[in-house]
């Protein structure tokens, strides 16, 4: 559905994105992950034909973004990060305006506007001006304008930024519900979000693709290292030494007990397997130490992200 090949964008001397290539299948939800300023927005702006690339090629829905820009633009829905809307209009008239520009036939405009407002939960805000709406509702108007032409490709730039937790959950489930028939590219710097919504991830940093795989594979690719967090009451030095001597342990990190706690925390990283929670509990029992907490913690996307980004930096320097 989306083919990107060697896309490059330079702003004068500064490099926006550098030789980015990827492809997205029909019906797939792709996550764009990267720190702020990594080039996510630049890539999206190029794909939505807002600005031309300096180099490389890309096709969306089979049309070249530069040569057949109008055809591409009528097949996409785009929600920019800042959710720019005309504040002096009411949602229905704004959506009708967008629907008209996106080429809906006149008689389809009104029913479609009502349909989309229903879909994003805006119906009861129809009489208000967009400028009076809260951030969460503006986001819905933004999403509604992206959906109005029933686009094949949906490009959403940080769709949940600045929302409260309840709104985030709502918008997220809304987006997830849109998948299946539509191809969606979603950018974010919030990792749990993309892992919940997206099937495949692209991690970009400093304008380059650092990693690209399915969410599951990315987790697997990092090795099966498992960490266990334990809070054990006992002679701290001895506990640390014994923990380090357990089978398969790579690193033990000790944290001094915080306020009101009697026992220190130990972060034990096992090289592989299911982790060694059972080894720790046996160890504590053998020495008659008090075991307060035992929490297995898998490698999260945060870890992957930091590893991918910092590993590359390590090689470069």
């Amino acid at each position: 559905m989306i083919e990107v090949e060697g896309l490059t964008k330079t702003y004068g001397e500064a490099r926006g994105i550098d030789n980015i290539s990827f492809h997205v299948e029909r019906g797939e939800i792709l996550g764009f992950l990267g720190p702020n300023g990594a080039g996510k927005t630049t890539t999206m702006r190029i794909l939505t034909c807002f600005m031309p690339a300096t180099g490389g090629k890309a096709t969306v829905a089979g049309y070249d973004i530069f040569e057949e820009s109008l055809k591409v633009r009528s097949r996409i829905g785009y929600l920019p990060e800042t959710v720019p809307l005309y504040t002096d209009m009411q949602p229905p008239s704004y959506l009708a305006f967008v629907a008209g520009l996106k080429g809906l036939p006149y008689r389809r405009i009104k029913p479609r506007v009502e349909e989309v407002m229903e879909q994003v939960g805006l119906t009861h805000m129809a009489h208000k001006y967009i400028g009076e709406l809260s951030k969460g509702y503006r986001q819905r108007v933004g999403l509604a304008q992206a959906l109005i032409n029933d686009p094949e490709v949906l490009i959403l730039d940080e769709p949940t930024i600045g929302l409260d937790p309840k709104q985030i959950v709502e918008i997220r489930s809304l987006i997830k519900g849109l998948g299946g028939e539509r191809t969606i590219i979603l950018s974010s710097h919030i990792l749990p979000e993309v892992s919940m919504v997206c099937e495949r991830l692209i991690i970009i940093d400093e304008g380059k693709v650092k990693a690209m795989d399915t969410t599951a594979n990315l987790l697997k690719g990092m090795g099966t290292a498992v960490r266990v967090e334990a809070r054990i009451g006992g002679p701290a030095d001895e506990v640390e030494k014994e923990l380090g001597a357990l089978a398969g342990v790579r690193v033990v990190t000790r944290t001094a007990p915080s306020n009101g706690e009697l026992a220190a925390r130990y972060l034990v990283e096992f090289a592989n397997g299911d982790g060694g929670g059972h080894l720790i509990s046996r160890l504590a029992a053998r020495h008659a130490w008090d075991l307060y907490e035992l929490i297995p913690a898998k490698l999260t996307l945060e870890d992957i992200f930091i590893k991918v980004v910092t590993k590359e930096e390590g090689v470069a320097s």
Binding site: K9, Y11, G16, T42, R45, T48, C49, F50, M51, P52, L70, K71, R73, S74, I76, Y78, P80, T82, P84, L85, Y86, T87, D88, M89, S93, F97, V98, G100, L101, K102, G103, Y129, Q145
Partner: protein, 259 residues
């Protein structure tokens, strides 16, 4: 064409939802009404004096409404438009760029030229409303006197052409900046220079004189106020409009490339 209409419709809606259109139209109408009253009142005083004192009447020459009411009326209107129209055009692109809505507009399947034509005709539609509100003045003249309708018609055609030129300039200035105030000041300054450039022509050398008076707004407007629709004047305004709309298009395009 369809897209242009949608943008015109949206522009009008936006203008009337915000105070911009109402304030501009009200002030324009009030100023025009005030000037019209002064012109008309002084003409009726003059006619009254001329009737009672034939000696004095001679120094005015032909005392008719066309010469003493209609021509100054359009002259004043052109000056008021010079001040008011930049207020209407300043937001067109500057506001869209500042608030970021430009990013969405340019990712809709709309050609740049359609976006510009939409903005242009949106402003022009508002101007037509302003112009329509001056018709009662002419109705008053027709009620009390016998104006030459041809002159009035030509005057209005000239007004539309002049306003189109003002709007095209205003749109261009709005397309090069994100700041509405800057856009208004720039277009006001540029229009004022073109308005007054004719005065300089009198002191300039032979060939410079020709160029300067050709560029001048006033020189091209005078014939309309006399009731003459000269194709060379019409061409001047049309070329002016096309040139500045073209520049606006280039300006949008360069904004795309620079990101």
């Amino acid at each position: 064409m369809r897209n242009v209409l949608f943008i015109v419709n949206k522009e009008l809606r936006s203008s009337f939802n915000s105070p911009v259109a109402l304030v501009t139209i009200t002030i324009f109408t009030a100023l025009i009404g005030y000037y019209f009253y002064n012109i008309f009142a002084s003409f009726s005083t003059l006619s009254f004096q001329a009737q009672t004192n034939p000696v004095e009447a001679k120094q005015y020459g032909a005392l008719n409404v066309t010469e003493f009411v209609i021509r100054p009326f359009f002259g004043i209107m052109s000056l008021v438009l010079l001040i008011m129209l930049p207020m209407l055009t300043m937001r067109s692109f500057a506001e869209e760029k500042k608030s970021g809505t430009m990013e969405l507009l340019l990712t809709f399947p709309v050609r740049d030229i359609e976006a510009i034509m939409g903005k242009f005709f949106g402003c022009l539609a508002l101007f037509f409303l302003m112009l329509a509100l001056t018709f009662p003045c002419m109705a008053l003249v027709a009620y009390f006197g016998e104006p030459e309708w041809g002159v009035i018609g030509a005057g209005y055609v000239g007004m539309v052409l002049l306003a189109s030129a003002f709007i095209a300039m205003g749109l261009f200035m709005s397309s090069i900046t994100e700041n509405q105030i800057v856009a208004a000041i720039l277009s006001f300054a540029a229009l004022l220079v073109l308005y007054m450039i004719g005065y300089t022509a009198a002191y300039a050398g032979e060939w410079l004189n020709v160029i300067l008076s050709y560029l001048s707004f006033t020189a091209h407007f005078e014939s309309f106020a006399k009731g003459v629709i000269d194709t060379s004047d019409v061409n001047y305004y049309l070329l002016f409009v096309i040139f500045f709309l073209f520049l606006s298009m280039r300006s949008l395009e360069s904004k795309r490339w620079r990101g």
